[in-house]
Amino acid sequence: MKTNFKLSSRMHLLIIISVAVIVVGLLVGIICQSVANEFFNYSEDLASYKSVTVAYETTDFSGNEVEPVEQIKGFCDEAFKAEGVKSYSVVEGTTSTGGTVTYRFVYSTDSGKLKNAASIINDKIAEVIEDSSTDNVAMATTAETLLSSGYAVSMAAVAVAVIIVLHFVYFVIRYKLTMALGAILADFHNLGLFLMLMALTRIPVGSSIATYAVITVALTVIGTCFLFDRMRKNFKDEDLKKLTAYEVVDKSADESFVINTVMPACLATVSVVLFVLLSISSLSPLAIISPVLCSLVSFISCAYGTTFFVPSVYSRFKLIGDNMKKKSRSKTAKSTQK
């Protein structure tokens, strides 16, 4: 598939789009950070969370032949509605004598409201227990969970930093300095765009953000390999010598367009299908939506950055590099003449 985007001549527009998204995302993040101490919309396992757990016995405590878990879930829904709190995830478990149902809430949820909800649930359970001598068949408790995903995220950040540095070094050795600059620009641009889009869209961010940040960089690395390999070949091609640097860059971007868009698009499709299927089987579709949106933002950032933004900016790098070469050559020639 051939495109005719003429990316080199649209550099300013593409820079404006990227800068606008990044700046707006940054501003939204900073405002949220100052107001609610949340640059991203932290959720699940990245930040600590609060929960209400109901542990129950398998006995049909109400005597109406309804599964205990169904009845308890009904009580929980009513209690949470009454207190005006909403869970983002529900997990069921089995024990040797019964089971547990755990509702998770974001850490900013009012603990008092959760304690009230727990006592409402306990009261409702007490109301329906037929045999008053049979107590303790079900009990709701509240909890605050400390999570240390911060360490995993910081290690992922270190890994991403090392990958970017090595990506640059490898491209300096195997390609050219201007291409290495283009590669490092792609890394920063795509990663920045991904993070700022996450801040802007307020998609709940779990520890999976570290995984998707790494996937973003990995896809960028793959994309730049294809893109700059095409450029390297086209710049060496004798038939293309008569073309300007801009035209060669545009041609290379066209040639690597399919591979740099199809791979993220395929992964995005797989991600959407997977999470649609999972949301059917999952107990809490809310737990599914965050990773799927996270992955989509990652793939969009990669496809846009590597296919459109980087070739357009690289065309200027190439021009500057060529001009510098020319100047140094003319200097050398002059000094030789002297």
Binding site: S51, T94, T102, N136, S148, T211, V214, V270, S282, A287
Partner: protein, 489 residues
């Protein structure tokens, strides 16, 4: 290559791939008792796919409502010794004043932080430590079940995983300081003099390592610790001393009369708890000692398995989706490249079988993120092959023979494919080495996938040569059209 040779090699390769694929995917009952679990159903899954296991840890003086009703409520004297706090009952003497209660809650919180750090060192793909109702610590880790264990088709594996989690829960929540005693039971006495500053001061740190299938705990002595321990064990000629954490004997012994060869103490430990030993010993040597004793030293800990976050059918959904991707890539390949595409489909199937086998053998914990890394590796192989096929197609358009086109196409693509694989390999290695938990596992999966992708890229060329050799119409084999002139080949 002759027809016979080509047929034999092709048949052998196809048979090998199909047999490996069958072993990798098909589970079946062997008799009424035994069952063969395929590689894929024996892969350990993360908490998102096969759920998590948790346990509650009650500090001394705190009991659950169930225990209160069972053991205390019926005894009037004891009944008055407890006060209800949320879902638990706490002994009066622990919370007599508001300051005492706050102090006790704070000690539980700081214990939770220490336990959090200990479980963090274990390298789980996900885990959490909570403080329930301010008095109880709840620890949750992935069950590490295989699909067979999760679906209770392999009860032995399920039991062994839960037992391993139980060991970890018990060891990583041990309270008390490091000590060296003259026996293994409760009557054993400390051999460290009171003014020695504690046995923990003898050590810099403790770590775990595995070598040739054996698992070790290595305790690194300080200079002073080395000389003091040397003096201690040379003070007598017979018998042994044992390492304790609190009142729990770790079954690690040092013999009297044997001089220390280096500033490290190495112990060969059972694989099931070697890492746990290293973590708990390192924690107590670095002054991270729990303030409270939990679950009566671990004897009352009940491990509870929860359902998977993404639902019971998550593993099946994931497997079906990965299968669909494989089938989709194979069909696309066959439609575009005819018999060459069929051969490429065989290579893609080989990749899938190899990856399943590799993940099964390395006992990596497979999560949804891991599946994405697997897909990235798969995409790498598929795109590499499609890239080179297109390069060969371009070469054929210049009038070259298939053999010449393949040679030139592969030569022209070599730099791109090599660059791509090297860069991804480095990325994967860095992620595996630097990151922790789920990402480290993802890095390792990507690393294996990249190596497999590069090996299978060249295997594709080999098979192309083998399969197409006896074919008369080599252009037709690849689904290419001869554009310029007919070649004798």
């Amino acid at each position: 290559m002759g027809k016979v040779k080509s047929a034999i090699i092709t048949a052998l390769v196809v048979a090998a791939v199909l047999i490996l694929s069958l072993f990798a995917v098909i589970s079946c009952p062997l008799n009424e008792v035994d069952r063969y679990n395929s590689f894929v159903s024996s892969i350990h899954m993360g908490g998102d796919l096969t759920g998590e296991a948790y346990a509650l840890f009650y500090p001394e003086g705190v009991i659950s409502e169930a225990d209160y009703n069972l053991k205390v409520a019926s005894t009037p004297d004891e009944k008055d010794n407890y006060q209800k706090r949320g879902s638990v009952y706490v002994e009066n003497e622990l919370i007599e004043t508001a300051e005492q209660e706050a102090e006790f809650k704070s000690s539980v919180s700081s214990d939770a932080a220490i336990i959090n750090a200990r479980f963090g060192a274990k390298g789980y793909t996900s885990y959490s430590v909570s403080v329930v109702d301010s008095f109880v610590i709840r620890v949750s880790v992935p069950t590490n079940f295989t699909y067979a264990a999760y679906k209770e088709l392999d009860s032995a594996s399920r039991e062994s995983e839960l037992t391993a989690i139980g060991y970890t829960f018990n060891y990583l929540t041990l309270s008390g300081e490091l000590d060296l005693r003259n026996g293994t039971d409760d009557t054993a006495k400390s051999v460290i003099s009171v003014n020695a500053g504690g046995f923990a001061t003898f050590f810099k740190d403790v770590n775990y390592y595995a070598l040739a299938g054996n698992h070790y705990v290595r305790m690194n002595l300080t200079d002073d610790g080395y000389s003091r321990l040397s003096n201690l064990i040379l003070s007598e000629s017979e018998g042994s001393v044992y390492i304790f954490v609190g009142d729990t004997c770790m079954q690690l012994s040092i013999n009297y009369g044997e001089s220390l060869q280096s500033k490290t103490l190495g112990f060969s430990v059972n694989e099931a708890y070697a890492k746990d030993f290293a973590i708990i010993l390192n924690s107590v040597t670095t002054d991270n000692v729990l303030a409270n004793n939990y679950n009566d030293g671990g004897s009352d800990t009940e491990v509870i398995a929860l359902t998977a976050t993404y639902g019971d059918a998550a593993v099946i959904v994931l497997f079906v989706l990965l299968l669909l991707v494989l089938v989709g890539a194979a069909v696309a390949s066959i439609v575009r490249y005819k018999k060459l595409g069929l051969m490429n489909a065989l290579v893609l199937l080989t990749f899938a079988a190899v990856m399943i086998t590799a993940i099964f053998l390395t006992e990596l914990q497979f999560t949804v993120a891991g599946a994405f890394m697997l897909l990235l590796g798969f995409a790498l192989l598929a795109f590499s092959n499609f890239h080179v096929f297109e390069a060969v197609r371009k070469e054929t358009l210049t009038g070259r023979t298939i053999q010449a086109s393949v040679k030139t196409g592969y030569r022209k693509c070599l730099a791109t494919i090599l660059d791509l694989h090297i860069v991804i390999l480095v990325v994967a290695a860095l992620v595996a080495l630097i990151c922790t938990g789920e990402l480290a596992a993802c890095g390792l999966i990507l690393f294996i996938a990249t190596v497999a992708s590069y090996a299978l890229y060249w295997f594709t060329r080999f098979m192309w040569y083998v399969v197409s050799s006896p074919m008369r119409d080599k252009f037709g084999f690849c689904g290419f059209k001869r554009e310029v002139f007919d070649d004798e080949d």
